[in-house]
Amino acid sequence: MPDTSTGVVVIGGGSTGSGVLRDLTLRGIDAILVEKGDLASGTTGRSHGLLHSGGRYCVNDLAAAIECVQEGRILRRIARTTVEDTGGYFVSVSQEDEAWEPRFVEGCQKAGITCERLSVEEARRREPALSTNVRTVFWIPEDGHLDPFYLVVGNVESARRRGAQVRTYTEVVGFTRTGNRISGVLTRDAVTGEETSIGCQAVINATGAWSGFVARLLDVEVKVVPVKGVMVVLSRRLAHAAINRCHKPGDGDIVVPGLSVAILGTTAVKVPHPEVLPIEWNEVQLLIDEGAKMLDGVTTSRAMRAYAGVRPLYDLGAEAEGREMSRNFAVIDHEERDGVAGFTSIVGGKVTTYRLMAERVTDLVARRLGVTTPCTTAEVPLNDREDEMDQLRHRPAQLGVPKPHGEELALQPLLCECELVRPQDVEPWMHDPAVRTLEDVRRRTRSGMGPCQAAICSYRLAGRLVTDRGVDGRTATRAMADFLETRWRGVRHVFWGSQLRQAQVTAGVHLELFNVDRQLMEPQSPKLAEEGRGGGIPAEVEAVGQP
């Protein structure tokens, strides 16, 4: 007898898995999502956040471009508050770029992408930071910024409200079968090591770049090519809109405005394993150099950190490599292909088309389960209720604004001044057992993502772990240190200019004012697991130390 039973087990807590979970529950199918790390801790949360208009793919990958057009419009409807309608520019800076232009314009027409040519003067009036290198400019109103964390959390919370379960830091380590049919999964808790079985009628493998590892547990093959992409975060946004280079997609040709920052993307390097993502200096340098060709201020702005993500490119068996490979996706019906009934994989694709991917794979699985309820994820909004989480874009207004002639400043307290995160934004997550590390809190609230990279809020969050969650000081201190170390791993790669001052303040506060290095030498300090490998703060215990 399994410990729990459900209809469908979804493996993978990225945009695809969370989209599948929601799609299943909207069709009335019971489901449990299991994720070996935190939600959005793999590919989704490490994307650059560009909501693709399709312009990037319209020459080489028309099918993917058309999907982007359609899905972008749907997301603006159902997930309005996770999208900022920035619009985008495609700019030419060289003769080769100009030769690409007619193909780009034709591709936009074929894909149905709105595209308007602007004079350089008009473009610079709208975006004063456009470089003097820029020769021609196309305005693509449907490029946007997508907050990947809010997207995943929005999908998951929508599914939870309809009865779905989510288990983070829970890795699938095996399957149970009855004949050639999957009858359940065996999972292991990444912190406690505890094993649990979940009985089910079907399993959907939505693990992206990790799909091959999950499939191998069943002796079936899924060929996914993990391709690393490095990104650099600048402390200023530089432009209102997304800036794309108008050429054959290549390295360092996008600058995405993400709330208050700009993200330079990206590189493409095949890697042997989706968790081996070294950030190389030549990649960082290339992103800065290429970004500077399109926008002024790239070299003079403060680079805050670099990070690496992994694309889950599906190997269709063609000769294509890296960027040449399609960004399209595929549903693999393992019953038909491999004779393993009840197991389906969804591979390839990208965050912009996550909903369509979820729809396709759920169509197949629902049909097999005899469920005929049609997909409604394109119509039902993610947050079909009044929800604090919806208010991200309105946060500055909620915080209060200084009144020029008023008696007092009506500002609310902030836990993270850099990202305008209030204590009450963090508080609910302190009680959520799915949250195991302060990185998990960061993904849900943006705390620690600003210029100081958690120097200040990490102490306040550690304090909350003690007061709100009731963990002991050592565990809270360790969690604080792990959080700072994870941030540091990105900061190190852009260590020049005024970044040095910030690093000195961070080190000074924590090592000198707090003596945290000596606290960490205390022999009893338990070492928590690394990010993405589970571990962390135990679930809530009765609060101690309260008056």
Binding site: P413, I456, Y459, R460, V466, T477, V494, V505, V509, L513
Partner: protein, 422 residues
């Protein structure tokens, strides 16, 4: 503009150098480039907390520890400055603090062990009197006190850590929290707001009353965030202690550091009031050198460059915080002589994988002569009348050994002595 000795810097090294010159009857000008670590990282003067960056055992006698460090490591900034500079500089600072109306205590022969805002014991040498009662070499129980809505000192966190670390957990450590009269927890307030409030007698009495009720143990000392007054802290601490009926000690909080702010503000005001000219917010750069001497440096004051001619210069840029270096992706240069101080193949090379380990970048600086003059690759002084103090020196990394204040004092004092002789 002309002067006798120009001291460039905004940290403790610059202040000590300036005071040393002033006490010797010289006429220094203090050029302040901008906010320094004093605003963020200072609370106490740490002389030597640990013998090395990986030792967990606190140094008991800082002077003896420094002597040993000098013997083992003749290139260390302490060795360059000399133990005498540390001793004389510390006496000068303590006397100066007294004269400036500050109550500080401590001797180079003994470290106190004070709990931080994490509850971790930390060795410190010279400290404000308002921190002394926190010494963990004393036995009385400790009650950490926090305030509703105040996030920059969390008593429960400090209590939990200290109860594990303090003599195997044998002593009593508790945490209490009280609300603050007139301060709404749903409105933004900072450590500085609280420090101003504590200067108000009515506010203080009300908080003391609430704490007396909250702290059950009549023998406990109270560990408070360092917000007990901004400018009248000496009186505030003494009166608050009386009103609480318990010994009270301050603990440094997250920045802004009220303790560092008080220190800087009091000392620079005193030095100005006693006749030292100070040029505010003027980053200095570009030394003009002829015949082995620096003729002038340039100040970037509002909208224009201003040359400054001095007989001698003390470059006491304490660290990266006050902008000592120009760090590109590969090359670190100094702003005065445009020397290449370090070359790195990648920026990441400047750092350790761990934030909590010594950072290679911290040791970048001018190699110096025996007289603290910056020297070129061949060891020749770049200018015979320029002297380096503080974080501008190569090999200067006070973080792991907890020696920020002591190293600033020793090098600041010594550089000032050399500047007088130049």
């Amino acid at each position: 503009m002309k002067c006798d000795v120009a001291v460039v810097g905004s940290g403790l090294a610059a202040l000590v150098a300036t005071r040393t010159l002033q006490r010797a009857g010289r006429d220094p000008v203090l050029i302040w480039p901008g906010l320094s670590s004093l605003y963020f990282l200072y609370a106490t003067v740490d002389v030597l907390g640990y013998a090395n960056a990986s030792s967990a055992q606190p140094v008991e006698e800082p002077a003896a520890g420094v002597r040993q460090l000098i013997a083992q490591n003749p290139d260390h900034p302490y060795a360059r400055a000399g133990l005498a500079a540390l001793e004389d500089g510390s006496s000068l600072l303590l006397e100066w603090l007294r004269e400036a109306g500050f109550n500080w205590q401590g001797t180079l022969n003994r470290n106190l062990l004070l709990p931080t805002a994490l509850g971790t014991p930390k060795p410190s040498c010279l400290v404000p009197t308002s921190m002394v009662a926190g010494d963990l070499q004393r036995d009385e129980p400790i009650a950490f006190c926090g305030f509703d809505g105040y996030q920059d000192f969390v008593p429960e966190l400090a209590a939990s850590n200290l109860s594990g670390a303090w003599n195997g957990g044998g002593r009593t450590v508790t945490a209490v929290r009280v609300s603050l009269p007139g301060i709404k927890p749903d409105r933004l307030f900072t450590s500085i707001d609280l420090a101003r409030n504590f200067e108000d007698a009515t506010f203080r009495r009300e908080v003391a009353g609430r704490l007396r009720l909250a702290v059950k143990d009549s023998g406990a000392r109270l560990g408070m965030p360092a917000v007990l007054g901004l400018t009248h802290d000496t009186d505030v601490h003494a009166e608050f202690e009386k009103e609480c009926g318990h010994p009270v000690f301050e603990i440094p909080t997250l920045p802004p550091s009220v303790l560092g702010l008080r220190l800087f503000d009091r000392l620079r005001r005193h030095v100005q009031e006693t006749g030292v000219e100070m040029i505010w917010a003027a980053p200095a750069h570009d030394a003009e050198v002829a015949n082995g001497r620096c003729l002038r440096i340039h100040l970037k004051s509002a909208g224009r460059e201003q040359p400054l001619e001095a007989r001698a210069y003390v470059l006491a840029l304490e660290d990266a915080v006050d902008g000592a270096w120009r760090a590109g992706a590969h090359t670190v240069r100094d702003p005065f002589f445009h020397q290449v101080l370090a070359q790195h193949a990648t920026p990441a090379e400047r750092t350790d994988e761990s934030l909590f380990a010594p950072q290679p970048f911290a040791t970048v600086g001018y190699p110096v002569s025996d007289r603290l003059q910056p020297v070129d690759k061949d060891g020749h002084p770049l200018a015979s009348n320029v002297f380096v103090a503080g974080g501008g020196m190569a090999g200067y990394d006070p973080t792991g050994i907890k020696a920020r204040g002591g190293m600033a004092i020793a090098t600041g004092y010594r550089a000032a002595q050399e500047a007088m002789a130049a």
